[in-house]
């Protein structure tokens, strides 16, 4: 059977950072991804990232993905398995993989789950019509494969993803009819909102989609205003002729592998759904199974990279590769970085979610 010291599932920013950190201590790492190249969702992020200049802020996601992929290729301790899905993790530390060659077991001493997140669906009549796409799908289609999703788009959701994808749609030559936001305020960063407002795209707060219609595929959408109890207000309907409805209504962690590995999972709405309990080393309640990135709670790439680094460091430490003082010092450095990244007003929701999670973790250990 093929063996590795650390198996990392998911080669996005979290998984790659974890793999590189562990590999820097000589740990033999196998990095697994469903896609054929490393980078995760960075490969479709054409915008520039915020964060510290010293840590590459201002770099476009696509450029960062290239850099990370090169580091992976050049690292002799990391083996990349592309076009491979992790099917399950068993108590004898065997990870079952579906590779292009067939089903293969992989014996691993430690496992890092960095599987990311998937898009949330929204309930409305017609939501299953072709032409209703996740925002990530729209980004993949246009920024990775160079295909426009349609001619005219209604964006549902004004978080950063909804705002950024709206801007990217215009860059690709697609009209954005409007951005809807159910809340009374815009969900994403103000600079992203300002960027699309000056392109003439309306952001309608307190609005939602009532229905999508069309013969076999989307031909339009009816939108309406919401009252303070989130109910649509009859008489406020507007008809928008669009051929694409793009859902940017949030993400939920992809935790199947963690459930299956026996990690204790908790529902924390601020973190996007079910997330594993984990300790200050990013280790879950399933011994030897670590978590990082959106799988541990939906945030964004810079926190995912810091969490991945922490999980990789911890995995290497638990394998006896990191001197204790160095481990403690580096762990505090990364935790401080995470703290600063979440210190602004937009990080408050995440901090509330993490607090809920840590309270439940204490209950488990008590």
């Amino acid at each position: 059977m093929r063996k590795t010291e650390l198996a990392v599932v998911g080669a996005g920013p979290a998984g790659i950072s974890g793999a590189l950190e562990a590999a820097s201590y000589g740990v033999k790492v196998t990095l697994i991804d469903r896609g054929d190249r490393p980078g995760g969702q960075l490969v479709k992020q054409t915008h520039k990232f915020f964060g510290w200049h010293a840590k590459g802020a201002g770099t476009r996601g696509i450029v960062l993905a290239e850099q990370l992929a090169r580091h992976i290729r050049e690292n002799e301790n990391v083996t990349f398995f592309g076009s491979t899905e992790a099917l399950g993790y068993y108590s004898d530390k065997v990870l079952l993989l579906e590779t292009p060659r067939g089903i293969e077991p992989l014996q691993c001493e430690r496992l890092l789950v960095a599987t990311g997140a998937s898009e949330k669906m929204l309930l409305f009549p017609g939501n299953d019509l072709p032409g209703v796409y996740g925002a990530g799908a729209v980004q993949t289609l246009m920024n990775v494969y160079g295909v426009r999703p349609g001619r005219s788009v209604l964006m549902v959701g004004s978080g950063n993803i909804g705002l950024i994808v709206s801007y990217q749609l215009v860059q690709a030559g697609v009209r954005v009819a409007a951005v809807l936001e159910a809340m009374p305020v815009i969900g994403g960063y103000a600079v992203h909102a300002s960027k699309i407002r000056r392109l003439g795209i309306p952001i309608l707060t307190g609005h939602s989609i009532k229905e999508a219609y069309g013969d076999g595929q989307v031909e339009g959408a009816v939108i309406w205003k919401l009252d303070e109890k989130w109910n649509g207000i009859p008489g406020t309907e507007k008809d928008l002729k669009v051929d694409v409805i793009c859902l940017a209504t949030g993400l939920t962690p992809l935790g199947e592998l963690l459930w299956q590995a026996g990690a204790q999972m908790e529902y924390v709405s601020e973190l996007g759904g079910f997330v594993p309990l984990y300790d200050e080393n990013m280790e879950t309640t399933a011994k030897g199974v670590f978590v990082a990135g959106d799988a541990s709670g939906v945030e964004e790439a810079s926190t995912a990279m810091a969490e991945g680094k922490l999980a990789g460091l911890s995995a290497a430490w638990s394998l006896g590769r990191v001197p204790p003082e160095e481990f403690t010092r580096k762990r505090e450095e990364i935790r401080n970085e995470l703290y600063q990244l979440r210190a602004g007003p937009t990080g408050q929701k995440i901090l509330r979610g993490l607090e809920t999670l840590s309270k439940r973790a204490k209950k488990v250990t008590a």
């Binding site: 200049h53 103000a190 600079v191 407002r197 000056r198 003439g200 600063q340 990244l341 007003p345």
Partner: protein, 168 residues
Amino acid sequence: MSDEGLLVTGIPTSEELARVTPPRERREKGPCVMIECFQRIPCDPCHYSCRFGAIKEFEDINDVPEVDWDKCTGCGMCIAACPGLAIFVVDESTGNEECRIAMPYEFVPLPEKGERVRLFDRAGTEVGTGVVERVIPGQKPQGTPVVWVRAPKELSLVARHLAVNREG
């Protein structure tokens, strides 16, 4: 101008804009930066992009940028560095009727020098036209192109987007 609030409309209020607008005397002296970044978010590349030390160092990564207009030369290096595309340069030193505005422009086609372009305000409303004075193309894929336009003076604090109009 809407004053409902930045987080409702996506458009800064007049009070918010007043805080980041260079004083008139400064604008009439020559080009200077206007950083339309009002929200505490973890981001600092603008400070490092300025070789004149005009954008003060961040104590906390979430601080909003603070400009020393005496040090700012209006070079516009920070425009392409800002991940939020929130930085503009304005210059009212060119005469009574005209001003110059520099803005980021990540669209195709890029305008050409001498070309007349349509100008838009922060709500995307067309407010007039300007003539392109200079285009600094960005290197793909990382770069952000910056376009300098000459516009009617009253648009220096108003026009924040442009569109190339080659058909019809």
